[in-house]
C-alpha cells in the first residue's frame, strides 16, 4: 500500500510538473498573428493560387499608398498580388495577412468569373478570407476585432467602403 501511495504521489507530481511546464511554455510562446511587421515575409504564409491551382505571384512593396494589399493586371494579362510592407500605425501582421487573403480570394473570383466584381463578391471574399485564416491559426475575438478595425480604416472607399465590409464580416458563417 505504501509503495502504491508513493508511486501515485510520484505520478501526480510528475503530471503536475508536466502541466506546469506546458503552461509556462504556452504562456511564453508568442502569438503568431500579433508579431511585429519585421518578421512577416514568408512564402509559406503569403501563397495564393488561382482557381486552376496555378500560383499567383505575391510581391513585397514598400509604397506610400494607403492600401495594404492589392491585385494588379500586367500587360500580358497576368494577375499580380502586392503587399505593402510600409509601417502604419496600429497595423500588425494579422491585418496584412488578412488583407492579402482577401485580395487573393478576389483575384480568384475575378479569374474564374471574368467580369467586373460587385459588392457581393467583395463581401463573400471577406468571409472566405476570414475562414481561411481561422483554419490556419487559432484566432480569437481580439483578432476578429482587429480585422474589423483594419477593414474600417483601410478597406476601401469607392466600390465598397471599409465600413460596409466590416459590418458584413460580422454576419459571416463560421
Amino acid at each position: 500500500m505504501r509503495v502504491f501511495m508513493s508511486r501515485a504521489r510520484v505520478l501526480l507530481m510528475s503530471g503536475l510538473a508536466v502541466a506546469t511546464v506546458q503552461g509556462v511554455v504556452g504562456a511564453a510562446a508568442p502569438d503568431v498573428l500579433a508579431q511585429p511587421v519585421k518578421v512577416w515575409k514568408s512564402r509559406k504564409i503569403y501563397n495564393c493560387r488561382d482557381h486552376t491551382g496555378r500560383p499567383l505571384p505575391v510581391y513585397f512593396t514598400h509604397s506610400k499608398v494607403r492600401r495594404l494589399a492589392w491585385a494588379s493586371l500586367s500587360l500580358n494579362k497576368r494577375v499580380h498580388l502586392f503587399v505593402n510592407g510600409r509601417p502604419k500605425p496600429g497595423v500588425r501582421r494579422l491585418g496584412r495577412i488578412y488583407m492579402l487573403f482577401s485580395v487573393c480570394e478576389l483575384a480568384r473570383d475575378f479569374l474564374r468569373k471574368r467580369r467586373r466584381l460587385t459588392k457581393q463578391d467583395y463581401m463573400a471574399a471577406d468571409c472566405r478570407a476570414w475562414r481561411r485564416m481561422s483554419r490556419r491559426w487559432p484566432t480569437t475575438a481580439a483578432h476578429r476585432r482587429e480585422v474589423v478595425r483594419m477593414l474600417t480604416e483601410f478597406g476601401g472607399r469607392r466600390r465598397i467602403t471599409g465600413y460596409e465590409r466590416a459590418q458584413r464580416l460580422d454576419q459571416c458563417r463560421p
Partner: protein
Amino acid sequence: MPALKVIPLVVAGLATLVSAAVMAVAPAAAQYRLRDVVSCRTPQGERPDLVVTRNMGAGARRSLDGTRTVIVLNPRQHKVWAMRIAVYFHECAHFSQPGGVGVKRTTPERRRLELRADCVGIRTMARAGLLSHSGWRYILRRVYGLRESRSRTHPAGPVRAANMRRCMQRLGHLIRPDYRTRRVTRW
C-alpha cells in the same frame, strides 16, 4: 477591384508605349528588332512582366516565392517619353546585378547598386538607339533635381547625374542628334 481599374490604363499605356517605341526605334530598325529593343530580359532569360500603375513608385521586384519578376512603372511620374524609357531601363538593369532583385542588402550596397543601375540603364538605352540629344539633356536635368531618398538608399540627384554623365563619357556617339536642331553632344 484594383485590377479592373487598371485595365484601361494598361491598354492605353501599351498602345502609347508601342507607338512611341516604333517612332523612336525607326533609325535603328535595321540592327534591332523592336522586341529586342524595348524588352528586358533577366540573366536567366525570362522576360519580367510589366505592371503599369498610377499611385506607386517605379520598381523592379521579384515575387516572394522567387518564381516571377515584374517591373512596375508609373507614367504619371514623368511626362516625357525619354524619361519614362530611362526609368524602364534603369529598373531592368537591376535584374542583371549580382544576386538580382529581392535580396536583402545593406544601405551602402544599395546606394552603389542604384548608381550601377543608372549607368547600365542609360547605356542600354543609348545602345538601343533610344537616346536623343534633347532626351539626354532632359534626363540629366531631371535626375540632377532629385533628392536623396529618405531611407538613403538612393543617392542625391547631383551624384547620380554626375555618375550618368561619367558613364556616357565615351559613348557620346550613341546619342542621336535631334532632327530639327542637328546639334551634337558636347562635353
